[in-house]
């Protein structure tokens, strides 16, 4: 792998221990994946922030990197933490956990990371442009950046994203290279899909088919070129991205008429009819049903904001909750800058008056909620996956407005 003289100097430890370790990580990844060189990145999103996932070892590593002189060279933001950094007591977070979580965030802050803890950095100031090389972790945001924005990133893990932040570089392989962004299978959606829950179900249906294709193609997973989705909002696209990443391991897709790179690849150019899979209404319905394994009477936990809510979604929640009282634990999960917009608009006051709780900086996937609840109602296919796998909850997947209604029942 070719390295510049500055990269050699970093590797030799001339820019401090932490930066050296970062470069060692990048060189190893570049070697494994056959990168010819490093490329500069301009934006980083780091995952592995919740103490629930990091544990003591992760915290120790981050503290060591901060103490070793690690300092970000490019705009870097964080994934959700395990709690609302300000309002953790109202969410019944264990004080010992809160203490460790704060130390994690302090270590990142010490390195110059902007500590907005969100899975939707593209909604709060970390917004790359088309074609920009970036190094993001957080599978839903990776998919959104590659597909919806047309920026270029591999799916980083926590340490490799931090390594990119401390050096301003990433090895040039995978989705950074034009030839690896080409679609490999056409997915024709012959169904009506609107709303977060339905787009999430579509993401699961497609993701499951992609896993099947990977098996058939000896491990190589093709990039989906989705046709037949006529219209999608930013909100429903973030739901789709989270789902196709969770259920299909996808870091990239194209959607005709919606994502920017799709125009380069009209199906006639590359897709023989044998490489087309059809998704029917029955497929979407079956995927949707598969995420409902309980009835609404069992629900004791309601959460919206996986991925984190936009200000438009919070406005809708405020409208639906105005003058009413919730009867269940209801978490509104979003980024702190979005919460501050909600404060400014009076939405926060309306929502909190109903008894619903803001769980800013965190979400129902990464907060330590195992054992606290039995059944979750959500509009998020991704949240359903983790609620079951990590927290052993049963789940109810519903349209956005119906989830709010569930909290009022």
């Amino acid at each position: 792998m070719y390295l510049t003289s500055e990269e050699h100097a970093i590797l030799a430890g001339k820019h401090g221990k932490a930066t050296q370790k970062a470069m060692e990580i990048l060189v190893a990844l570049g070697t494994i994946y056959g990168a010819e060189r490093m490329i500069p990145v301009t934006s980083v999103q780091i995952a592995g922030v919740s103490y629930d996932n990091l544990g003591e070892a992760g915290l120790h590593f981050l503290t060591e990197m901060a103490a070793g002189g690690g300092r970000t060279r490019v705009l870097t933001t964080l994934n959700p933490a395990g709690m609302d950094v300000e309002n953790w007591k109202a969410l019944d977070i264990d004080p010992a956990f809160a203490e460790q979580q704060k130390r994690v965030i302090e270590a990142f802050a010490h390195m110059g990371v902007v500590t907005t803890c969100t899975c939707t950095p593209y909604l709060s100031g970390n917004t790359p442009h088309y074609g920009e090389h970036i190094a993001w972790a957080e599978s839903s945001a990776v998919c959104y950046a590659n597909a919806v924005i047309g920026a270029r990133t591999n799916r980083e893990g926590g340490p490799s994203a931090l390594a990119a932040a401390l050096t301003g570089r990433t090895p040039a392989y995978g989705y950074h290279l034009e030839e690896n962004r080409k679609p490999g299978i056409r997915i024709d959606v012959q169904a009506q899909v609107t709303g977060n829950d339905r787009l999430g179900a579509l993401g699961k249906a497609i993701g499951t088919k992609l896993e099947g294709e990977a098996g058939r193609r000896k491990g190589e997973k093709p990039i989906a070129y989705v046709t037949g989705v006529v219209q999608a909002s930013v909100e429903s696209l973030k739901s789709f991205c989270a789902s196709i990443a969770t259920y299909g391991g996808a870091a990239m897709f194209h959607m005709q008429g919606i994502t920017p790179e799709a125009a380069q690849w009209t199906p006639a150019q590359w897709a023989p009819p044998t490489d087309t899979l059809i998704i029917t209404q029955a497929d979407v319905d079956a995927a949707h049903r598969s995420m409902n394994d309980t009835i609404s009477g069992e629900v004791d936990f309601v959460s919206l904001g996986c991925p984190h809510l936009s200000i438009r979604e919070i406005a809708r929640i405020a409208e639906l909750l105005e003058g009413k009282q919730v009867t269940k634990e209801f978490w509104i999960t979003t980024a702190r800058p979005t919460k501050q917009m909600a404060d400014m608009m009076g939405y926060t006051a309306t929502i909190e008056a109903s008894g619903a709780k803001f769980a800013t900086d965190t979400c129902c996937v990464v907060a330590p909620v195992k054992g606290r609840f039995k059944a979750l109602a959500t509009d998020s296919a991704k949240a359903c996956y983790y609620a079951r796998a990590k927290n052993k909850f049963r789940t109810v997947l519903k349209p956005f407005d119906d989830v709010v209604a569930e909290a009022l029942k």
Binding site: K21, E24, I25, A28, L29, T31, I32, G48, N53, L54, G55, E56, A57, G58, H60, F61, G157, G158, P159, S160
Partner: protein, 131 residues
């Protein structure tokens, strides 16, 4: 026998081989405090990776597994070195942050369990008594 491989992380160490023909998921698959393999049905289930030259085809599972290697190192229970057929991101990053010598691209099928082997990751070589 001596084989030339590829260096993932530097260092030189000699020790006893612990060979798995199955992939290893460090997160959830290895107890981070004891180094004992706890994955149900794994061929190394119940054995400790601590101080061994851990030989396996490739890593798998959650990326948090990198931190498990780091935690094993700090608990004094890490493997002395790792030898893979094909190293992937989780194991590579784990070895780098935990400073565990690691070499891949060697014919691991020819390495027998419990033999003494020398891993020289600086030279990217593996040497063993038998085979």
């Amino acid at each position: 026998m001596k084989w030339q491989g590829r260096t993932i992380y530097r260092g030189k160490v000699a020790g006893e081989a612990l060979v798995s023909h199955m992939g290893i998921s460090f997160f959830g698959g290895v107890d981070p405090d004891t180094g004992i393999v706890v994955e149900r049905g794994h061929e190394l289930e119940g054995q400790s990776v601590s101080g061994k030259i851990l030989v396996f085809p490739t890593g798998k599972g959650s990326t948090v597994g990198s931190y498990t290697l780091y935690r094993l190192k700090h608990a004094g229970k890490a493997p002395a070195a790792i030898v893979n057929a094909e190293c992937e991101t989780i194991t590579a990053v784990g070895c780098i942050i935990a400073e565990i010598p690691c070499v891949d691209h060697v014919p691991i099928d020819l390495i027998q369990d419990h033999t003494q082997i020398i891993v020289d990751a600086d030279a990217a070589t593996i040497e063993c008594d038998s085979a």
